[in-house]
């Protein structure tokens, strides 16, 4: 498999810039992630993490710079990239009006999983996240934790080389959080799948990440293993290291149009929830 990775790096970001008008959200960042690594991408709100992830996952075009994932360029070979990645988004991205099984089948069709292995693979993944018994129930009847598990099963369905997890444990109880990481680490070890994740829980990053990049004001301000970061800042915990690196000031984020709409949806009682 080394033909499509360069020097064992499965993600190579170089000179990445994203500007929205005058505002520079991502300001010339570069980093690499090695194959089978669990890589944490940290930063305060508004640091540019989401914008970076969107560029890495082909949802946004970079203003400048290049991103290579699993040997594919994210602008010139988007489908190559898309086949190589699985994503669990920060917000749910399931169809609530379909059953768990139908959501999985939809995904299997989009990723062209061959018909002869499709059924068994879906069963395997649904059993893996312990949702096989709920397969024919509508997703809207699921709890937050169940939805998250289903998204993980779906993200892993097509054997991605890289799994992106954007704040995957937000709002989950410790039990579900532990379960989730045990699934992910299991596949990471068995299949050599690279994991790229963001989180605001520093102890989580400390516990699971092999390496960490800290981003602030659109730049990566530190990269290294958790112990390297702690040593560098002379901090006891990763949380303290993070605060030393990024300061104590609280960041405000502008509400996007989608956020506003979600609010409105909630006020109206929502159509589908």
């Amino acid at each position: 498999m080394s033909y499509n990775t360069d020097h064992g790096n499965v993600i190579t970001v170089s000179g990445l810039v994203k500007k929205f008008g005058d505002f520079t959200a991502v300001d010339n960042i570069s980093f690499e992630v090695k194959k089978a690594e669990i890589f944490a991408f940290l930063g305060p709100n508004g640091a540019g993490k989401s914008t970076t992830i969107k560029m890495l996952t082909t949802l946004l075009h970079p203003t400048q710079g290049t991103v290579t994932l699993n040997g594919h360029d994210t602008t010139s070979d988007r489908n190559g990239v898309r086949k190589s990645i699985g994503i669990v988004f920060q917000d749910p991205s399931l169809d609530d009006d379909l059953t768990a099984m139908e959501n999985m089948e939809f995904h299997a069709t989009c990723y062209k999983i061959p018909h002869n292995t499709r059924k068994s693979r879906i069963e395997e993944m649904l059993r893996f996240v312990e949702l096989w018994d709920k397969r024919d129930e509508l997703v809207k009847t699921f709890s937050g934790g169940m939805k998250r598990r289903l998204e993980i099963a779906r993200g892993l369905l097509h054997h991605p080389a890289i799994l992106f997890l954007d704040e995957p444990t937000l709002g989950l109880d410790p039990q579900t959080r532990n379960h989730m990481w045990s699934y992910v680490k299991d596949i990471n070890e068995k299949e050599g799948m690279t994991v790229f994740f963001t989180t605001h829980y520093m102890e989580e990053a400390d516990r699971v990440a092999d390496r960490i990049a800290v981003m602030d004001h659109g730049r990566t301000i530190a990269t290294g293993t958790p112990s390297e970061l702690k040593a560098k800042t002379g901090a006891e915990s990763l949380e303290d290291a993070f605060l030393t690196l990024t300061g104590h000031k609280i960041r405000e984020e502008e509400a996007s149009g989608v956020d506003r709409m979600r609010m409105m949806g909630r006020v109206w009682g929502g159509r589908r929830r």
Binding site: L59, L94, D97, E102, T109
Partner: protein, 249 residues
Amino acid sequence: MDVIYIMWLRQLKKYFRSKSRIVGSLGQPLLFLLAFGFGFGAVFKKAGAGNYMQFLAPGIIIMSVLFTAIFSGIDVIWDRQFGFLKETMVAPVSRFQIMLGKTLGGATVASIQGVIVFVLTLIVGFRPHDLILLPLGAIVVFLVAILFTSLGIALASTMEDMQGFQLIMNFLVMPIFFLSGALFPLEGLPKVMDIIAMLDPLSYGVDGLRFSFIGSEAAFGMTTDMVVLFLLAAALLGLGSMLFERIQV
């Protein structure tokens, strides 16, 4: 091909699962049929224009197709709000296939809605004039459905949230319906109204369906109706997929 099919299937499943939505969406056509059909029936007859229910029914069928189609297209905004759009946007499939599947699904749903309203018109006393021409009516309905589902997707692709929705309802969908000749004959109208009706795509759908269902003389001619509907449906399908490709989530 598989992707187009699964998108289409998804639209249908969602439609048949929302029983309350189906029932709810029959209220408006029923109200129009009863209030206008019986309300204006006597005046229409007195004016020597014949049976108003016969005249009105094709217009109301097209109306329900128009509304269902536009809403099926605008659904993209809900997919965006509830995140599902992202799942399709990062999948290794062309957006054109996704858009095409969604359009065909929305158009199928709108056509089914048209059939249901057709049954409703039969109940309140509408009688199609010639059964042989019914398939022609079905084609008109499907073209109208494709046209407006694509328009819905095109509009939704440029909208971040539901803020502009009222605007679209009041300044686009309602005028398209009311000025199309669905409720009144397009004869002896003031010049301005005449021109507006000619520019309104729905007029051709109403005209075509009326010709197929009651054998009335087509105001624009059946060939013109079909050609206009076909070209507009193709153009909007193109526009819809162009704008859909540009969506950033």
